[in-house]
């Protein structure tokens, strides 16, 4: 069952994927870079804005679909992934991109992520990871560093940060990558690879919050990033190595010289997507004669 996305014949310029709405993000927000990378990737991938759905939850980053020229579903807090699942079940020919935040995906929405991942829905889930909650004015998120001072944790975060890369791999995501909002070229490449990937693609974008987060800043990331594919020659089919590399950036809390890995950690296309399996079932049980479907169904209930 090969499901093809609707695509344009000719490329649209990236600006055509932006709406006329002014964004409400703070100046210097890393998420602006994500918009730029997305519009470039959509253009390169020749996606049709009228056959493209961007699904989000609630939070600063989840406003993204509003700034875009594509179908958008700005849903409830934490519910972007299941809303996207609904969209995938409805129309497998329409690509679906989830654009959400680290809190939305991995705190309130945590229950949904692993289930969509293990079922291998063909969608791209982008986490715009600023390692805290911004829209509610500075609280810790599941990816916040230990010791991070948020408005509810003035004494410092007691928790260990959650390793979303390893979690995504363990959940069964078939494409797991990390990129950085300060590097639009790398972001665009990764998002394109994620769109082209058949299956559940998770992209964590390190996206600094200039207003509240004084630890995970553009300055902090500068000089620390290491491209695991190009610089370290990491082969994304090596799952074990991918999990080891994913542990690396957490050393940064303890080791001032630690590097932050970006690139494709893991990728496999050997697993069929959920949509392919559903379409195969529909094909298998397709009635021989559509005219008599109802007679057949009702015959089960006749006396």
């Amino acid at each position: 069952m090969d499901i093809q996305y609707v695509r344009l014949e000719e490329k649209l310029p990236p600006r055509e994927y932006k709406s006329s709405l002014e964004s409400t993000w703070c100046p210097g927000c890393g998420d602006f870079g994500v918009v730029t990378a997305l519009t470039r990737a959509f253009s390169d991938e020749k996606l049709d804005p009228t056959a493209l759905s961007l699904v989000s939850g609630i939070g600063c980053s989840s406003r993204l679909p509003l700034w875009m020229n594509a179908f958008g579903l700005h849903s409830c807090h934490g519910r972007a992934v299941p809303a996207a699942v609904g969209a995938r079940l409805a129309k497998p020919e329409v690509p679906v991109i989830v654009t959400a935040g680290d809190g939305d995906l991995f705190s309130i929405g945590m229950e949904h992520f692993p289930h969509a991942a293990r079922r291998n829905f063909d969608m791209v889930v982008i986490s715009m990871d600023n390692r805290m909650y911004a829209l509610t004015k500075n609280q810790v998120s599941p990816t916040s560093r230990t010791g991070y001072k948020g408005s509810l944790t003035p004494y410092g975060n007691l928790d260990n940060p959650f390793n979303v890369i390893n979690f995504a791999i363990a959940s069964g995501a078939t494409f797991v990558a990390q990129t950085y909002a300060g590097n639009p070229k790398h972001m665009t490449e990764i998002i394109e690879a994620a769109i082209e990937h058949k299956g559940f693609a998770f992209v964590n974008i390190l996206s600094p919050c200039p207003t509240y987060n004084k630890l995970d800043t553009f300055k902090f990331y500068k000089g620390r990033l290491v491209d695991i594919n190009k610089e370290l020659g990491h082969d994304p089919s090596d799952k074990q190595k991918a999990m080891e590399l994913a542990e690396h950036d957490y050393d940064a809390d303890y080791n001032p010289d630690a590097k932050v890995p970006i690139g494709i950690f893991y990728k496999t296309e050997e697993i069929p997507t959920f949509e392919e399996k559903v379409e195969a079932l529909k094909e298998k049980y397709k009635p021989e004669n559509p005219e008599t479907v109802w007679d057949d169904i009702l015959s089960n209930y006749k006396v």
Binding site: V6, T50, S53, C76, P82, A90, E111, H115, K302
Partner: protein, 601 residues
């Protein structure tokens, strides 16, 4: 009046075959052309605990499960103890005796009462004569068939249908049990009771379905493409019944990780342009409230079935209750638009599911179908639906498709266009020429977030305008029952009720009318927004408005106070909350009590 009306009740322990005994008997009766209604109840555990399956059969339309039963087939001592108080003069008790069972009835006491007792050693015959204890229920059934004169061939047909996959050996074993039972009854029992099923009636074009089956079929007929749900009693079987058929119609049943995701999936699918539905029970409705609000704000059609059970909290998962009306209509935050429909019988479970889709498409909002545990399990033989006619009358969403609009029109095409009806064009990915973002934030016509007082007010007015005239636009969703009352004639009492209670009340009302009491009755199927005009008109026909409901607080009664101009002092609540539906006699007696008191005063 029906010339034949017989109720057989099988009672015993869950897992002993009590439920299938009722099902087989019901099917045999339906095959003979009789009307049937079943009533089942069992505990929330997989095995064990008291279970009952009751079959009422008649040559006329059956409205309720009845006041009681004519024949009790008691599988064990508990079944006997529970039902002993209900045994009356002329009732037949078929019990597991004289030997081999776990109890012995109080012969003298029952004889004095006039109860007719037939001993059928079900356990012993199954063990010793058939050699398989598991056939106990088949012996009980076959003995009952023999006693009431139902063709044993019909029982054999059901056994073949049910066990053909398990092989000839299993069928032979069950046939042996039938023979043993027949032989026992012929040789040992002298029939003294009057209960006898007359010969078969002319064959009717009917299907036998349970409440939840009817919902599943209704959803299919309406064209559901995505069904997402999380297992919860007593709603789970809606999906179970849908799953094998939906692939044939190009849809899919998805078991979601919870109720919240189920509702989000419904919204995501419907946003994408296809019909989507979920089914749940009270606890699931609580979890879905935020997303039901999103569907309302984003004007995305969605059908949510709530098969009510006893609450709050986990409550009584397998027991009857009508206490989710407040949650269904008013649950959630903010002022949202939604529609609540309540079917009163199995046939309406089917047609109102179709209606739920039609209303959700027409008004672009969530529609809740409020049914209940007893109705979910109640089986009825209903006239075979005309699917072509249903399909012709389906209301389709106003999706604006590519190529349908000129470039100038495209400029002014807005998803949330403010219109006189409040209903706006629908845009769907892959189909429409102009994208938009559906957002739960307050927004302007073009869907961009807006919070100015003017725009907020306009948009609230637009959304509420959609359902402002819903009563006038859907008069078929209110059922009037005025009996012989003439225009302008005063009734002794008005009864307004909903859900399964309405079908039970109908039987009580028939009996009251036979006694000369004038009853005006109204059964709203659209219960929110409350059809206030109809309610007010019905209430104006008498001095008393009785609202029987199977809940503590009186949800519909309170709605009548809130949303209509019916004087509060006229409204009399009658509430039961024991986990079982009303029986007709209770409503009949309540009316007599009220009218009696009124005369005295």
């Amino acid at each position: 009046m029906a010339s034949f009306d017989l109720t057989v009740k099988y009672a015993g322990e869950g897992g002993e075959g009590v439920i299938s005994s009722g099902d087989f008997t019901m099917k045999a009766a339906a095959k003979m052309g009789y009307e049937v209604v079943t009533f089942k109840s069992f505990p929330a555990e997989i095995k064990g605990g008291y279970a009952l399956s009751q079959v009422r059969m008649s040559d006329e339309k059956i409205l309720s499960q009845g006041d009681g039963f004519d024949i009790l087939v008691a599988f064990n001592g508990e079944a006997y103890e529970v039902n002993k108080p209900l045994l009356r003069e002329g009732t037949v008790l078929i019990w597991d005796g004289p030997e081999g069972g776990d109890f012995e009835p109080e012969f003298e006491e029952l004889e004095k009462k006039g109860v007719i007792m037939y001993a059928v050693p079900m356990s012993q015959l199954a063990k010793k004569e058939v050699g398989a204890y598991i056939t106990k229920n088949v012996i009980a059934m076959a003995a009952t068939f023999e006693l009431i004169g139902m063709p044993i061939e019909l029982l054999k047909e059901e056994i073949v249908a049910k066990f053909s996959k398990k092989g000839q050996e299993v069928i032979d074993l069950n046939f042996k049990a039938i023979e043993v039972a027949q032989k026992y009854v012929k040789e040992n029992i002298k029939k003294v009771d009057p209960y006898k099923v007359p010969g078969p009636l002319p064959k009717k074009d009917v299907i036998i379905v349970e409440g939840n089956e009817a919902i599943a079929l209704g959803a299919l007929a309406a064209g559901v493409k995505v069904y997402a749900a999380y297992p919860i009693t007593p709603a789970t079987t809606v999906g179970n019944y849908l799953a094998p058929h939906i692939l044939k119609t190009g849809g899919y049943v998805y078991q979601a990780e919870d109720e919240i995701s189920s509702m989000a999936i419904v919204i995501g699918a419907s946003f994408s342009g296809v019909k989507a539905m979920t089914a749940t029970s009270g606890p699931g409705i609580s979890l879905m409230q935020e997303l039901i609000g999103l569907a309302s704000m984003t004007e995305i059609p969605a059908v949510i079935v709530d098969v009510q059970r006893g609450g709050p909290s986990t409550g009584m998962p397998t027991k009857h209750d009508q206490a989710d009306l407040f949650a269904a209509a008013l649950g959630g935050h903010g002022d949202d638009q939604r529609v609540v429909l309540a079917p009163t019988n199995v046939e309406e479970n089917f047609y109102l599911t179709v209606e739920a889709f039609n209303l959700s498409e027409r008004y672009q909002l969530p529609v809740l179908l409020l049914t209940d545990a007893s109705l979910s399990l109640r089986a009825e033989a209903i006239p075979t639906p005309d699917i072509n006619k249903i399909k012709e009358n389906l209301i389709e969403r106003p999706i604006v498709r590519k190529g349908e609009v000129s470039p100038e029109e495209l400029e002014n095409l807005f998803r949330y266009k403010i219109t006189d009806t409040g209903i706006s064009p629908f845009l769907a990915p892959g189909e429409s020429p102009k994208p938009y973002t559906a957002t739960g934030l307050e927004h302007g016509e073009n869907s961009y977030p807006r919070t100015t007082p003017k725009e907020r007010t306009e948009m609230m007015d637009k959304r509420f305008r959609k359902i402002k005239n819903i009563e006038d636009e859907n008069p078929h969703l209110v059922e009037w029952d005025l009996g012989d009352l003439q225009e302008g004639e005063k009734a002794d009492i008005t009864i307004i009720t909903w859900g399964l209670t309405a079908s039970i009340a109908k039987e009580a009302i028939q009996r009251l009318r036979n006694k000369g009491i004038k009853v005006a009755a109204l059964y709203p199927k659209l219960i929110y927004p409350l059809p206030a005009k109809a309610v007010e008109k019905a209430a104006s026909m008498s001095d008393i408005v009785l609202v029987p409901e199977a809940n503590y607080m009186g949800h519909l009664a309170k709605f009548i106070r809130m949303f209509s101009s019916v004087p509060a002092e006229k409204i009399v609540q009658y509430n039961i909350y024991r986990g079982e539906p009303f029986i007709p006699k209770e409503i009949e007696e309540k009316v007599e009590e009220i009218l009696g008191k009124k005369v005295q005063a």
